[in-house]
C-alpha cells in the first residue's frame, strides 16, 4: 500500500480528504438533500480516487498508456475533463427541469382559469363553501 511514488504524508492526507468527502456525500443522502441516484456518481468517483490514492501505481501505468510523460498531468487532465462533463450533465438536467417547470406552470395557469370559470358559473362559490373538495 505504501509507495515510493508519493510521500506517505501526502497519501494519508489524500485518503483522509477523500474519506471526509465521501462522508459528506453520504450525509447529504441521509438528510435527503441529495438523491441516492444523483449521489452514485460522486460515491463511485470518490471510491475510484481513493483507490488511486492507495495504489498510485495504477495512475502511473494508466498515464503512460495514454501517453502522458508525467502522471500529475494526467491527473489534472482527467480532473478538468471530469468536471467539465459533470457541469455539462448538470446543465442538461437544468434545461430539462426548466422545460418541466415551464409545462407545470402552464398547466397550473390553465387549471386555475378553468377553476375560476367553473366557480363563476356556479354562482361564485368561494373555496370551501361548496363543491367536491378533498375530504378530510
Amino acid at each position: 500500500m505504501t509507495s515510493d511514488l508519493i510521500p506517505f504524508e501526502l497519501q494519508a492526507i489524500s485518503i483522509a480528504v477523500l474519506a471526509a468527502f465521501l462522508l459528506w456525500v453520504l450525509r447529504l443522502v441521509r438528510t435527503q438533500r441529495l438523491s441516492l441516484r444523483d449521489s452514485l456518481v460522486w460515491v463511485v468517483t470518490t471510491l475510484v480516487a481513493t483507490m488511486v490514492a492507495l495504489f498510485p501505481g495504477i495512475l502511473v501505468r494508466a498515464a503512460h498508456v495514454v501517453g502522458f510523460q508525467v502522471a500529475s498531468n494526467a491527473v489534472f487532465g482527467a480532473a478538468v475533463l471530469y468536471l467539465a462533463v459533470n457541469v455539462l450533465v448538470n446543465t442538461v438536467a437544468g434545461s430539462q427541469n426548466a422545460a418541466r417547470i415551464r409545462r407545470l406552470s402552464q398547466e397550473c395557469a390553465a387549471l386555475r382559469a378553468e377553476l375560476e370559470a367553473a366557480r363563476a358559473s356556479r354562482g361564485g362559490a368561494a373555496p370551501g363553501e361548496a363543491g367536491p373538495g378533498p375530504k378530510p
Binding site: R103, S105, A113
Partner: protein
Amino acid sequence: MRVLAIVPAFNEERSLPAVVSGLRRSAPSVDVCLVDDGSTDGTADVARSLGVTVLSLPVNLGIGGAVQTGYRWARDHGYDVAVQVDGDGQHDATYLPALVDAVGAGRAALAIGSRFAGPRIAGAFRSTWPRRAGIRYLSWMLRLRCGARVTDPTSGFRAAGRQAIELFARSYPPDYPEPESIAVAARAGLTVTEVPVRMSERLHGESSISAWRSFYYLVKVSLALVLLPTRRPASEELP
C-alpha cells in the same frame, strides 16, 4: 370562426385597460385571454376586472413560455385562430382583423404583422437604426435557413391558424421566440405570410430588450436558426 387574442403581460397594469378596450373596439367578437407572466403588480386583478380570461402563471416564464400558455389554451378550447397582441400597448388592435383574415381565409398558417411590409406610414414606430439592422439580418437568416420571407421577424403581433396553434402548443422557443418560432413553423411546412401593421412606442415602462441584451439576442437566435434544421422537433412528451 372562433378567435382568441393572447395578451402576454408582465407588470402591465397601467397599459392593460387601453389594450383591452382597443381589442374590444376593433374586434368585438374576439375572446381575450391575458397571460400574466408572474407579475408583481396588479396585472391579473386589472385583467379580471376587465372581464377577460386570465391565465396566471405562478412563476415568471419569460415571453416564450407565457405566449405558449396562450397557444395551449387556444388548442384545448378549440379556437380556430389565435392572435398574439403585446400587453404593453405597442400593437394597434385595428390591424387585428387583417391578421385574422390572412389566416382565416387559408392564405397562410401564420401571419406576421410587419412594420416594414407595406408603404411607410407617417408617424409609425419603426425602431432605431441598429435594431432595424438587426431585424434585417434576422430576416436574411430566416430566408437563408428556412426560406421564410419575413421583413419583420421580431414582431410579436401575429395570427396563427389551427395548424400553427397545434404546433406552437407543442413547441415554442422559451426566450426571444419571435424569429425562431417563424422558423419552427416554416420547417414544419406551414406557410407564413405578412400583413402590414402600424406599431407605436410602448405606453408605459421599458422594453424587456435592453441595448446590451440585443447582442445576446442576435447570437442566440442565430444559433437557433443555424441548428434548427438538425434539431429533433419538440414533442409533447418532456425529457
